[in-house]
Symmetry: C2
Subunit: 197 residues, 2 copies
Protein backbone atom coordinates (compact mmCIF):
# COMPACT_ATOMS: atom_id res chain seq x y z
CA UNK A 1 0.00 0.00 0.00
CA UNK A 2 1.15 3.50 -0.67
CA UNK A 3 2.53 5.54 2.23
CA UNK A 4 1.97 9.02 3.54
CA UNK A 5 5.39 10.60 3.78
CA UNK A 6 6.87 13.93 4.75
CA UNK A 7 10.24 15.30 3.73
CA UNK A 8 11.20 18.40 5.65
CA UNK A 9 14.39 20.36 6.22
CA UNK A 10 15.09 21.20 9.85
CA UNK A 11 17.76 23.04 11.79
CA UNK A 12 19.49 21.35 14.72
CA UNK A 13 17.34 23.40 17.05
CA UNK A 14 14.14 22.15 15.47
CA UNK A 15 13.10 24.95 13.12
CA UNK A 16 11.82 24.24 9.62
CA UNK A 17 11.53 27.91 8.72
CA UNK A 18 13.14 31.06 10.03
CA UNK A 19 11.39 34.08 11.54
CA UNK A 20 9.62 36.79 9.54
CA UNK A 21 8.48 34.84 6.50
CA UNK A 22 7.75 37.18 3.59
CA UNK A 23 7.49 37.41 -0.17
CA UNK A 24 11.25 37.95 -0.29
CA UNK A 25 11.99 35.23 2.26
CA UNK A 26 9.32 32.56 1.90
CA UNK A 27 11.16 30.31 4.37
CA UNK A 28 11.91 33.17 6.75
CA UNK A 29 15.12 35.04 7.37
CA UNK A 30 18.26 33.02 6.92
CA UNK A 31 16.48 29.71 6.47
CA UNK A 32 16.52 29.00 2.74
CA UNK A 33 20.29 29.14 2.33
CA UNK A 34 20.91 27.29 5.60
CA UNK A 35 18.37 24.52 5.46
CA UNK A 36 18.50 23.59 1.80
CA UNK A 37 22.13 24.25 0.88
CA UNK A 38 22.68 20.54 0.36
CA UNK A 39 20.06 20.43 -2.40
CA UNK A 40 21.65 23.19 -4.41
CA UNK A 41 25.32 22.54 -3.72
CA UNK A 42 25.41 18.76 -3.67
CA UNK A 43 22.50 17.49 -5.77
CA UNK A 44 24.48 14.47 -6.98
CA UNK A 45 25.49 13.35 -3.52
CA UNK A 46 21.82 13.34 -2.52
CA UNK A 47 20.33 12.04 -5.76
CA UNK A 48 18.52 9.15 -4.06
CA UNK A 49 17.06 11.40 -1.38
CA UNK A 50 15.88 13.98 -3.91
CA UNK A 51 14.38 11.19 -6.00
CA UNK A 52 12.43 10.12 -2.94
CA UNK A 53 11.14 13.63 -2.35
CA UNK A 54 9.91 14.00 -5.93
CA UNK A 55 8.47 10.48 -6.24
CA UNK A 56 5.12 11.14 -4.63
CA UNK A 57 1.94 10.87 -6.67
CA UNK A 58 0.29 13.77 -4.87
CA UNK A 59 1.29 16.47 -2.39
CA UNK A 60 -0.44 18.28 0.45
CA UNK A 61 0.62 21.69 1.67
CA UNK A 62 -0.58 24.38 4.03
CA UNK A 63 -1.93 27.66 2.80
CA UNK A 64 1.09 29.51 4.17
CA UNK A 65 3.44 27.34 2.16
CA UNK A 66 1.47 28.08 -0.98
CA UNK A 67 1.01 31.80 -0.68
CA UNK A 68 2.74 34.76 0.92
CA UNK A 69 1.61 36.29 4.19
CA UNK A 70 -1.62 35.54 5.93
CA UNK A 71 -3.61 38.39 4.41
CA UNK A 72 -5.90 38.60 1.40
CA UNK A 73 -6.21 35.67 -0.93
CA UNK A 74 -4.82 36.73 -4.30
CA UNK A 75 -6.39 34.87 -7.21
CA UNK A 76 -3.45 35.76 -9.45
CA UNK A 77 -1.06 33.97 -7.09
CA UNK A 78 0.02 30.57 -8.37
CA UNK A 79 2.67 29.64 -5.84
CA UNK A 80 6.36 30.37 -5.34
CA UNK A 81 7.64 28.06 -8.02
CA UNK A 82 7.11 29.83 -11.36
CA UNK A 83 5.19 28.46 -14.34
CA UNK A 84 6.42 24.92 -13.92
CA UNK A 85 6.48 23.94 -10.24
CA UNK A 86 8.66 20.99 -9.22
CA UNK A 87 5.73 18.82 -8.09
CA UNK A 88 4.59 17.47 -11.48
CA UNK A 89 1.55 16.03 -9.71
CA UNK A 90 -1.66 17.15 -8.04
CA UNK A 91 -1.07 19.38 -5.02
CA UNK A 92 -3.78 19.82 -2.39
CA UNK A 93 -3.59 23.17 -0.62
CA UNK A 94 -5.29 23.43 2.78
CA UNK A 95 -7.19 26.70 3.00
CA UNK A 96 -10.37 28.31 4.25
CA UNK A 97 -10.92 30.05 0.92
CA UNK A 98 -12.55 28.06 -1.90
CA UNK A 99 -10.86 28.46 -5.25
CA UNK A 100 -10.99 26.66 -8.60
CA UNK A 101 -8.07 24.32 -9.37
CA UNK A 102 -5.08 25.92 -11.11
CA UNK A 103 -3.27 23.87 -13.75
CA UNK A 104 0.41 24.65 -14.20
CA UNK A 105 2.96 23.48 -16.75
CA UNK A 106 4.52 20.07 -16.23
CA UNK A 107 1.63 18.34 -14.55
CA UNK A 108 1.27 20.30 -11.32
CA UNK A 109 -2.35 21.09 -10.50
CA UNK A 110 -3.09 23.13 -7.38
CA UNK A 111 -6.35 22.03 -5.77
CA UNK A 112 -7.81 23.96 -2.85
CA UNK A 113 -9.32 21.99 0.01
CA UNK A 114 -11.49 23.76 2.53
CA UNK A 115 -12.78 20.85 4.61
CA UNK A 116 -9.73 19.82 6.58
CA UNK A 117 -6.66 17.62 6.64
CA UNK A 118 -8.46 14.28 6.43
CA UNK A 119 -10.41 15.31 3.38
CA UNK A 120 -7.22 16.60 1.75
CA UNK A 121 -5.54 13.28 2.47
CA UNK A 122 -8.42 11.33 1.04
CA UNK A 123 -8.35 13.33 -2.17
CA UNK A 124 -4.55 13.12 -2.37
CA UNK A 125 -4.63 9.33 -1.90
CA UNK A 126 -7.14 9.00 -4.66
CA UNK A 127 -5.06 11.18 -6.97
CA UNK A 128 -1.83 9.35 -6.10
CA UNK A 129 -3.15 5.88 -6.81
CA UNK A 130 -0.35 3.38 -6.16
CA UNK A 131 2.17 6.11 -5.39
CA UNK A 132 2.87 7.80 -2.06
CA UNK A 133 1.26 10.96 -0.78
CA UNK A 134 3.73 13.55 0.50
CA UNK A 135 2.91 16.20 3.09
CA UNK A 136 5.14 19.01 1.84
CA UNK A 137 4.81 21.50 4.72
CA UNK A 138 4.93 23.90 6.38
CA UNK A 139 5.51 23.22 10.04
CA UNK A 140 1.93 23.68 11.15
CA UNK A 141 0.57 21.38 8.47
CA UNK A 142 3.09 18.63 9.21
CA UNK A 143 2.37 18.99 12.93
CA UNK A 144 -1.34 18.58 12.26
CA UNK A 145 -0.76 15.37 10.32
CA UNK A 146 1.62 14.07 13.00
CA UNK A 147 -0.86 14.85 15.75
CA UNK A 148 -3.63 13.07 13.85
CA UNK A 149 -1.48 9.98 13.37
CA UNK A 150 -1.81 10.21 9.60
CA UNK A 151 1.88 10.15 8.62
CA UNK A 152 3.62 6.84 7.92
CA UNK A 153 7.14 8.09 7.34
CA UNK A 154 8.92 11.25 8.44
CA UNK A 155 12.13 12.09 6.63
CA UNK A 156 14.05 14.81 8.42
CA UNK A 157 16.84 16.56 6.57
CA UNK A 158 18.77 18.09 9.45
CA UNK A 159 21.10 20.92 8.48
CA UNK A 160 24.02 21.54 10.87
CA UNK A 161 22.82 25.02 11.70
CA UNK A 162 21.10 26.76 14.58
CA UNK A 163 18.39 29.21 13.49
CA UNK A 164 17.39 30.41 16.95
CA UNK A 165 13.85 31.36 15.94
CA UNK A 166 11.13 30.54 13.44
CA UNK A 167 8.57 27.82 12.87
CA UNK A 168 9.07 24.68 14.92
CA UNK A 169 8.34 21.11 13.97
CA UNK A 170 6.92 18.81 16.68
CA UNK A 171 4.70 21.41 18.36
CA UNK A 172 1.50 20.02 19.91
CA UNK A 173 1.91 16.66 18.23
CA UNK A 174 1.21 14.59 21.34
CA UNK A 175 2.93 11.27 21.93
CA UNK A 176 4.63 9.92 18.83
CA UNK A 177 5.98 6.42 18.42
CA UNK A 178 8.83 6.88 15.98
CA UNK A 179 11.35 4.30 14.83
CA UNK A 180 14.56 5.33 13.08
CA UNK A 181 14.79 3.30 9.87
CA UNK A 182 17.54 5.04 7.96
CA UNK A 183 20.33 7.60 8.13
CA UNK A 184 22.79 9.06 5.69
CA UNK A 185 24.39 12.40 5.06
CA UNK A 186 27.26 14.68 4.20
CA UNK A 187 28.82 17.72 5.84
CA UNK A 188 25.80 19.79 4.79
CA UNK A 189 22.95 17.61 6.00
CA UNK A 190 21.97 14.51 7.96
CA UNK A 191 19.05 12.58 6.51
CA UNK A 192 17.11 10.83 9.29
CA UNK A 193 14.14 8.67 8.34
CA UNK A 194 11.56 7.61 10.90
CA UNK A 195 8.69 5.20 10.58
CA UNK A 196 5.65 6.41 12.52
CA UNK A 197 3.95 3.55 14.36
CA UNK B 1 45.87 18.18 21.60
CA UNK B 2 43.02 17.08 23.79
CA UNK B 3 39.50 18.15 22.88
CA UNK B 4 36.59 19.64 24.75
CA UNK B 5 33.64 17.36 24.06
CA UNK B 6 30.03 17.12 25.04
CA UNK B 7 27.84 14.02 24.97
CA UNK B 8 24.21 14.77 25.49
CA UNK B 9 20.95 12.92 25.00
CA UNK B 10 18.28 14.91 23.18
CA UNK B 11 14.70 14.36 22.05
CA UNK B 12 13.73 14.97 18.43
CA UNK B 13 12.18 18.25 19.50
CA UNK B 14 15.40 19.47 21.06
CA UNK B 15 14.94 18.81 24.77
CA UNK B 16 17.74 17.34 26.88
CA UNK B 17 15.60 17.15 30.02
CA UNK B 18 11.89 17.04 30.64
CA UNK B 19 9.81 19.51 32.63
CA UNK B 20 9.62 19.61 36.44
CA UNK B 21 13.01 18.30 37.39
CA UNK B 22 13.01 16.99 40.94
CA UNK B 23 14.72 14.66 43.36
CA UNK B 24 12.54 11.84 42.03
CA UNK B 25 13.01 12.85 38.39
CA UNK B 26 16.44 14.42 38.06
CA UNK B 27 16.06 14.62 34.27
CA UNK B 28 12.48 15.83 34.49
CA UNK B 29 9.23 14.00 33.89
CA UNK B 30 9.41 11.29 31.31
CA UNK B 31 12.92 12.10 30.18
CA UNK B 32 15.18 9.51 31.80
CA UNK B 33 13.43 6.47 30.36
CA UNK B 34 12.95 8.11 26.97
CA UNK B 35 16.29 9.73 26.36
CA UNK B 36 18.62 7.11 27.76
CA UNK B 37 16.81 3.85 27.00
CA UNK B 38 19.52 2.88 24.53
CA UNK B 39 22.17 2.95 27.27
CA UNK B 40 20.30 0.58 29.52
CA UNK B 41 18.67 -1.69 26.96
CA UNK B 42 21.39 -1.93 24.33
CA UNK B 43 24.73 -1.29 26.04
CA UNK B 44 26.58 -3.72 23.78
CA UNK B 45 25.27 -2.18 20.57
CA UNK B 46 26.59 1.19 21.75
CA UNK B 47 29.81 0.03 23.41
CA UNK B 48 32.01 2.37 21.37
CA UNK B 49 29.81 5.36 22.03
CA UNK B 50 29.66 4.64 25.75
CA UNK B 51 33.43 4.19 25.79
CA UNK B 52 33.72 7.65 24.24
CA UNK B 53 31.50 9.17 26.88
CA UNK B 54 33.50 7.69 29.74
CA UNK B 55 36.94 8.32 28.23
CA UNK B 56 37.34 11.92 29.33
CA UNK B 57 40.05 12.86 31.81
CA UNK B 58 37.85 15.45 33.52
CA UNK B 59 34.21 16.55 33.46
CA UNK B 60 32.38 19.83 33.88
CA UNK B 61 28.77 20.07 34.98
CA UNK B 62 26.27 22.70 36.00
CA UNK B 63 25.09 23.04 39.53
CA UNK B 64 21.62 21.84 38.58
CA UNK B 65 23.00 18.63 37.15
CA UNK B 66 24.89 17.99 40.37
CA UNK B 67 22.21 18.74 42.91
CA UNK B 68 18.43 18.72 43.18
CA UNK B 69 16.33 21.82 42.87
CA UNK B 70 17.61 25.34 42.88
CA UNK B 71 17.24 25.93 46.59
CA UNK B 72 19.61 25.64 49.51
CA UNK B 73 23.02 24.10 49.03
CA UNK B 74 23.12 20.88 51.01
CA UNK B 75 26.62 19.99 52.19
CA UNK B 76 25.61 16.37 52.66
CA UNK B 77 24.65 16.09 49.00
CA UNK B 78 27.23 14.23 46.95
CA UNK B 79 25.43 13.93 43.62
CA UNK B 80 22.89 11.58 42.09
CA UNK B 81 25.22 8.72 41.45
CA UNK B 82 25.72 6.94 44.79
CA UNK B 83 29.06 6.26 46.49
CA UNK B 84 30.87 5.43 43.28
CA UNK B 85 29.85 7.84 40.51
CA UNK B 86 30.49 6.76 36.91
CA UNK B 87 32.97 9.55 36.19
CA UNK B 88 36.11 8.03 37.74
CA UNK B 89 37.83 11.37 37.20
CA UNK B 90 37.79 14.93 38.53
CA UNK B 91 34.44 16.66 38.02
CA UNK B 92 34.20 20.45 38.09
CA UNK B 93 30.81 21.70 39.26
CA UNK B 94 29.84 25.26 38.29
CA UNK B 95 28.27 26.99 41.28
CA UNK B 96 28.03 30.25 43.13
CA UNK B 97 28.56 28.50 46.47
CA UNK B 98 32.14 27.70 47.51
CA UNK B 99 32.61 24.21 48.89
CA UNK B 100 35.54 21.95 49.64
CA UNK B 101 36.20 19.15 47.13
CA UNK B 102 34.40 15.86 47.79
CA UNK B 103 36.29 12.64 47.07
CA UNK B 104 34.14 9.67 46.11
CA UNK B 105 34.94 6.00 45.56
CA UNK B 106 36.46 5.01 42.23
CA UNK B 107 38.35 8.19 41.45
CA UNK B 108 35.55 10.75 41.13
CA UNK B 109 36.36 14.01 42.90
CA UNK B 110 33.76 16.76 42.84
CA UNK B 111 35.39 20.18 42.73
CA UNK B 112 33.32 23.33 43.05
CA UNK B 113 34.19 26.26 40.81
CA UNK B 114 32.74 29.67 41.59
CA UNK B 115 34.53 31.86 39.05
CA UNK B 116 32.90 30.88 35.80
CA UNK B 117 33.00 28.54 32.85
CA UNK B 118 36.43 29.55 31.56
CA UNK B 119 38.04 28.97 34.92
CA UNK B 120 36.31 25.60 35.19
CA UNK B 121 37.60 24.65 31.76
CA UNK B 122 41.12 25.71 32.63
CA UNK B 123 41.10 23.60 35.76
CA UNK B 124 39.51 20.67 33.95
CA UNK B 125 42.11 20.83 31.17
CA UNK B 126 44.89 20.79 33.71
CA UNK B 127 43.34 17.82 35.50
CA UNK B 128 42.72 15.92 32.26
CA UNK B 129 46.26 16.24 30.93
CA UNK B 130 46.42 14.49 27.56
CA UNK B 131 42.83 13.31 27.77
CA UNK B 132 39.68 15.13 26.68
CA UNK B 133 37.53 17.34 28.85
CA UNK B 134 33.81 16.54 28.68
CA UNK B 135 31.04 19.02 29.40
CA UNK B 136 28.48 16.70 30.94
CA UNK B 137 25.45 19.02 31.13
CA UNK B 138 22.85 20.20 31.73
CA UNK B 139 21.35 22.21 28.93
CA UNK B 140 22.25 25.63 30.29
CA UNK B 141 25.86 24.67 30.90
CA UNK B 142 26.31 23.15 27.44
CA UNK B 143 24.65 26.22 25.90
CA UNK B 144 27.06 28.48 27.76
CA UNK B 145 30.05 26.56 26.44
CA UNK B 146 28.61 26.54 22.90
CA UNK B 147 27.95 30.28 23.03
CA UNK B 148 31.49 30.93 24.24
CA UNK B 149 32.96 28.86 21.41
CA UNK B 150 34.71 26.56 23.86
CA UNK B 151 33.41 23.19 22.64
CA UNK B 152 35.34 21.26 19.99
CA UNK B 153 32.97 18.34 19.51
CA UNK B 154 29.27 17.94 20.16
CA UNK B 155 27.94 14.39 20.25
CA UNK B 156 24.16 14.35 20.17
CA UNK B 157 22.38 11.15 21.08
CA UNK B 158 18.97 11.77 19.56
CA UNK B 159 16.20 9.56 20.92
CA UNK B 160 13.20 9.04 18.61
CA UNK B 161 10.83 10.70 21.05
CA UNK B 162 9.04 14.01 21.38
CA UNK B 163 9.07 15.40 24.94
CA UNK B 164 7.04 18.55 24.25
CA UNK B 165 8.52 20.50 27.13
CA UNK B 166 11.64 20.77 29.26
CA UNK B 167 15.15 22.12 28.96
CA UNK B 168 16.27 22.95 25.45
CA UNK B 169 19.69 22.65 23.94
CA UNK B 170 20.81 25.40 21.51
CA UNK B 171 19.18 28.31 23.36
CA UNK B 172 21.05 31.63 23.04
CA UNK B 173 24.11 30.01 21.55
CA UNK B 174 24.51 32.52 18.71
CA UNK B 175 25.84 31.46 15.32
CA UNK B 176 27.46 28.04 15.37
CA UNK B 177 29.57 26.58 12.61
CA UNK B 178 28.98 22.85 12.97
CA UNK B 179 30.21 20.09 10.70
CA UNK B 180 28.70 16.60 10.88
CA UNK B 181 31.58 14.15 11.23
CA UNK B 182 29.86 10.94 12.19
CA UNK B 183 26.54 9.15 12.51
CA UNK B 184 25.42 5.75 13.72
CA UNK B 185 22.48 4.35 15.57
CA UNK B 186 19.81 1.79 16.26
CA UNK B 187 16.04 1.91 16.64
CA UNK B 188 16.48 3.54 20.05
CA UNK B 189 18.91 6.34 19.23
CA UNK B 190 20.74 8.21 16.48
CA UNK B 191 24.26 9.27 17.38
CA UNK B 192 25.19 12.47 15.55
CA UNK B 193 28.67 13.88 16.02
CA UNK B 194 29.51 17.46 15.08
CA UNK B 195 32.84 19.24 14.99
CA UNK B 196 32.51 22.84 16.12
CA UNK B 197 34.58 25.15 13.93
Amino acid sequence: MSKVTCDIGMSLDGFVAGPNQSLENPLGEGAEECLHRWMFEEPEAHAEVIKGITAAGAYIMGRNMFSPGRGAWDLDWTGWWGDEPPYHAPVFVLTHHPREPVTMKGGTVFNFVTDGIESALERAREAAGERDVSVAGGAHTVNQYLAAGLLDELRLHVAPVVLGAGERLFVDVGDLDLVPVGMSGTELVSHLTYRVR
